[in-house]
Amino acid sequence: MATAVTEQDQDKGASTRPRAGRGRGALNPRWFGFYALVAIVVLFSLLRPDTYPTMTNLTAILSNEAVGCMLAMALFVPLVAGHYDLSIANVLTLSMICSVGMFQEFQAPIWVAVVVPVLVGALIGLINGVAVTVVGINSLVATLATGSCALGLALWWTNGTIFSENVPSGFQDLGGDLGGIPLPAVYAAVLIVVLWWASERMPVGRYLYALGDNAEAARLTGIPVTRLTIGTFVVSGSIAAFAGVVQAAVLGSGNPQVGPSLLLPAFAAVFLGGTILYLGRHNVLGTVVAVLVLAALVGGLEQLGVPFYVSPLLKGVVLLLAVALTTGRFSKVRSH
């Protein structure tokens, strides 16, 4: 209303002021996420010195979180360009089913069970991208719908059951470990490095951040908006599908119930990641730190005997706080 002073109101007097209240060097809030991670690890190591700071626990956490981390990456890519992809969790589900289905129904070789689901994920991403750009559907709605379709397909094929027959041990080895390092964590690490470089060091990353900030300005400066947007959804779908293949390899089965519970943690990680390293900006390394913070926290609480239902509660609260700090009321306070 007219009588309220809007925040967008350009304040010419204040606009040139230096960044107020921001700590310099080690006190800069951009490092707080790292400190939180260290503090959590130290705290639980003191509380549970026998079980928490162990190699076993570390590899367990890395192995468990690899899929979630990849899913967070899948969410991250279109989010940079300003679009939500809610279909990723169900794409992951469909991909698991496809992967194991290749063995159960067709006795296919292992490479087929890896490639086909990823192609399916890319196809769903393509549909998302076309729906958002060419057809002009809001990305929340479009991806909610395609995600529902993906889940529907998965349930149709499995008829609600779990696929687990004819899974060769070679496939399950893909979800195992190599010299003590869990392979899923290795895949996630490779993905993280590639996405980090692409988003921070390559021109395409610049274009995506520009696109997410002001799509019309991006179009007028000659950035290929449609192509890039579709590209982000294809990449997102492919990553989600690959995460599904990895999950299938870890479990040795395809379970249509697995995916949906992974969506919210991915959101929590990406938005919390936006408060780490680069304030108010989604970024790869911040997201990785956020995944680790959440994992270390939940893992520690579980060791203290806190009940299982704390985890979703905690992740919900973290998501709210993270969004408040990146885009909500408190973002200005922190980025000034």
Binding site: M1, A2, T3, A4, V5, T6, Q8, D9, Q10, D11, K12, G13, A14, S15, T16, R17, P18, A20, G21, W197, R201, M202, P203, R206, Y207, Y209, A210, D213, N214, E216, A217, A218, R219, L220, T221, G222, I223, P224, G280, R281, S335
Partner: protein, 504 residues
Amino acid sequence: MTSEGASVVALSGIRKEFTGQVALDDVSLAVQAGQVHALVGTNGSGKSTLVKVLAGVYSPERGSVLIDGQQVPHLTPARATELGLRFIHQDPALFPQQTVRDNISIGSRYRGSRGVRVDERRERDAARRALSAIGVDDVSPDVRLGALSQSQRTMVAVARAVQDLQGGQRIRLLVLDEPTASLPEHEAERVYGVIRDVAAQGIGVVYISHDLSPLLALADHVTVLRDGKLVASRSSSGLDEAALAQLMVGEEVQRATSSTSRPGEVVLSCRGLRGGRLQPTSLEVRGGEIVGVAGLLGSGRSTLLRLIAGSQPTDGGEVLVSGRRVPPGKPAAAIAAGIAYVPEDRRAQAAFPNLTLRENITGAALSAFRGPLRIDERAERAAVRALLDEFDVKPRDTEKQFRFLSGGNQQKAIIARCARLAPEVLLLDEPTQGVDVRARAQIHEAIKRLAARGTAVLVVSSDFGEVLDLSDRVLVLRQGGIKTTIADPATAQEQHVHHLAGTA
């Protein structure tokens, strides 16, 4: 209309700091009932900060706010509303999809209705009363706001702000921040009329604008701020535009000198170009030539630039740059052909508010710094710093978030972005809209410098004086076609252009 005696609202000795930087230093302001009080100053002079102190958004470090001579110790936005202080901002927070009636009633929290049901009839009556109280009778409360012209929307915003007069509440002050920034002159006139009506009801009006000549005609009293300090507070009589501009800037403002470059070959040519509002239009611009486009809102002036820049699909005709045909409707193709475009609406179409100044400037073309896999950020920073110096963008901080720059500096940065492309053709739509006199002169200089390098320049502005000052040749657009060409703008009268364009 100036009345002697106690002021309705006064600020005295206000000091406001933002972590070490002084935004306001010992500034006083006294507004009488029924007075139109102009508040002027360049971007960053502290006008908006002062308004926010009045609105209770900022609490000053020193000084006091006085209402009817009584000190108000802790002014909050809610308290300011209660005391009858009303504010209309540049972007007046209207709802284009709703009716005029709803837009007005939202301001009164649907006082005419009960919580469970909106009483359409009473809200409509309230809206009509609020509109007619400020002399607006041609706006129906039932039309969608989006169907109204810009000036009518501004009037709806004013009606909403002062409607409590009908409810018996005393409105003491109405503050308008650049209410006519994007209006053509004859529409702005109507807003001025409304402002006079508001003042006639005994409300003090604080009016902020960069458009100095109508402001002088409208205001009774002028307060000038410069770098957060009070420079002058005096009656507007006997003050002319040049003197006021000098007070604002503090040094002699140089009137733009016309360009000295000699036009070269034809660089941009349009043949039978049409689309949107634009009828088939042909024109040619030579390298080094600045061609102005004068026309009213709706004359097709902005459409012309959008069609050439590829931001809007064409219905026919073609655009050639140095004889090569440019594929229509594709901004990327236009840029590849050497066409750079500064769009009309900086905030919506040009700025990346959350990215850095550096990223805003280099965003369009990274080719100079990119290897196949990475960007050479050091080279990028150096190039951006050179551009910031050349175009005098302040602050010289390449990593500053773009949204923290003032409007004039944002605009200079956008022009720097275009200059970096070394374009053959530069299109500018309202390049100095909402920009202070100093930035305006700098932007004019920058445009001339680019023309001197052999760029063909096409400038649209609703300020016909600016078009005449800047251009080597002026095209007058009317109802979607070129009505006439003014070959010698240096000697043409601004009034004459208004006549040709259809205003007077």
